[in-house]
Symmetry: C2
Subunit: 335 residues, 2 copies
């Protein structure tokens, strides 16, 4: 089989070590990939390019269309824009898919039956980046919701549910307060839901939805949300599976797709061979499925589950009585 | 002692029965209150008044300044504004205080050591209610943050911490994306925090803050947030103590204060004598402390804890092995 050319970036903080671990595993599993490496993030920012990405890097992304990205750091202080957000918008990555699954009894969790996929709208909402100072004392940010934006992400959620045999799609909005913006999302949800009679649907106000998700995630299956709620609640969902370090995510567009861990670059443990590479590895599995190398993805997934099952755990998920061996990043990859 | 005149509203759904239960307990504990009753909510809405409140009711509130409010229902469909939000803004109730405490081992919870107070900004943010249709396909909502609004709520959080001997104030914002609006909140937090060297402080991006709060609430003490994050995360925090039905909240302004349960009017169990009156009762205890009847508040609080401790539980918190007797609303009040 011919190798698929993809773009990768090793990122900042723990990025390089978890990328190395991930690439070793992909290679051992027989993934057919040709890697083109770009540099994005902190070094690019600090070299004076406030976008965090060079023109050549963009060209690589647009050419290859598939991107495996390690976490990056945006420097503190004025003038830097979030590269994650810029990439999602520039590449039209409208759907952010975040599966959050408990691996009970191999990973300690309070929610053993959890198996939730958060489908997060990825371009609109308060992330549109339209902010201004109104007076000396007042600042404003625009929350923007469009009909095509809602239709696209909600249809994606139902198609995803159908493809993966999931039974219910829930929608969270705050349309009792934001009757026009969140109201539009809710109305389009109801309309599209009616085209999928085989899949159950429900709408919850986001406050009570979030409360139930945090307390009884086994009540949910696929959950679709506007961007900011999805940002917050996918972190909640990932964390309560046992560790935010276990979850990968796919950012999907019409022509491009970017795959990354949910967690950040964790500078405090960078370079210490302590980080859990699982989030990026899960992202890589989603990438492999996306490009049709499903068997390789399955092989990696099995090896990963088997390693966790054997109690070979990195520090973030190590727990007396559940884990058996505490290992570093590279030993975990080796296992 | 002279009685304090307060305004009460029995509300909708389970409102009347939990108000009745609460008033019985307050009377039995010797609260010195003179009650003035107003009608707000569903009946008022459906009578054609889309604000849900009459002019006379407003006059009662402005006269008495202290309001104990049962949950209300806003009818579905166009034209109705949220009365909760209108009251918070009209009466200048800028601080929404929501203590979320685990009552382990009396109430089943996954988070036995939880004792968090959410201090939520209560007037600004996306709740300002400025929404409009931009084009056929695009709707917008304004998120509004002001310097005085931030200063007031953040100072309130630190003063609260000092008064109640709490050691840390955490702040959650999304200022890596909303650098001006959430950025302002964060900067003012840092500035005011420096005036309280006796109290620890920290800022977390709201996504990871939410994840930690949901997974390890014992890490937090007082948490101050803009309005919408506070709405969502106070529901999460209340729910994971064991039940959203246990938490009361205070809406505090310069001259007025409104006390209410965190939960809604739960129409599905209305009139069945099943609802847990604890949320409104906790709100009533906050009211009693606020008007200086702290001994009565303490008496009610002790009786309430004792009842829960004895395993006399309403359906929402009843759990085999923890509870001993499953009771209705009025029997719980009687106990
Ligand atoms: C880093 C940040 C801009 C990003 C977001 O807010 O979307 C992150 O939290 C995420 O969830 O991918
Ligand atoms: C009923 C609703 C308008 C209200 C809010 O959003 O503030 C409620 O959820 C709350 O938390 O008090």
């Amino acid at each position: 089989p011919v190798a698929t050319k993809i773009t990768i970036a090793r990122g900042d903080g723990i990025g390089p070590e978890i990328m190395e671990a991930t690439l070793r595993i992909l290679q051992a599993a027989g993934a057919q990939l040709e890697l083109e490496e770009i540099e994005v993030g902190e070094q690019v920012y600090l070299s004076g390019n406030t976008s965090g990405i060079s023109k050549e890097a963009w060209q690589s992304l647009i050419r290859n269309k598939i991107f495996l990205k390690a976490p990056i750091t945006t420097p503190q202080g004025g003038g830097y824009k979030s590269l994650n957000v810029t990439m999602r918008k520039t590449l039209g990555l409208y759907a952010n898919i975040r599966p959050c699954v408990s691996l009970h009894p191999f990973i300690a969790t309070r929610h053993p039956k959890m198996d939730v996929v958060i489908v997060r709208e990825n371009e609109e909402d308060l992330y549109a980046g339209i902010e201004h100072q109104q007076t000396d004392e007042v600042v404003q940010c625009l929350k923007l919701i469009s009909r095509p934006g809602c239709e696209r992400i909600i249809r994606y959620a139902f198609e995803y549910a159908r493809q993966y045999g999931r039974r219910k799609v829930s929608c969270f909005t705050k349309d009792n307060i934001m009757k026009q913006t969140d109201g539009l999302f809710h109305r389009i949800f109801d309309k599209i839901a009616s085209e999928y009679p085989d899949i159950r649907n429900e709408h919850l106000i986001v406050d009570i939805g979030a409360a139930r998700l945090a307390d009884a995630p086994e009540l949910f299956d696929v959950v679709v949300m506007p961007n900011l709620y999805g940002d917050i609640l996918s972190d909640v969902a990932a964390q309560i599976t046992g560790s935010v370090g276990l979850a990968g995510s796919a950012n999907i567009g019409e022509s491009c797709a970017m795959f990354e861990a949910i967690h950040g670059s964790a500078p405090s443990i960078a370079g210490k061979n302590e980080a859990n590479p699982s989030g990026l590895l899960q992202a890589a599995c989603m990438l492999l499925s996306h490009i049709g190398q499903t068997e390789v993805a399955q092989r990696v997934q099995n090896a990963w589950l088997r390693t966790l099952e054997e109690g070979i755990h990195t520090a973030d998920i190590y727990k007396e009585g559940v884990s058996r061996q505490r290992v570093g990043t590279q030993a975990f990859a080796q296992a």
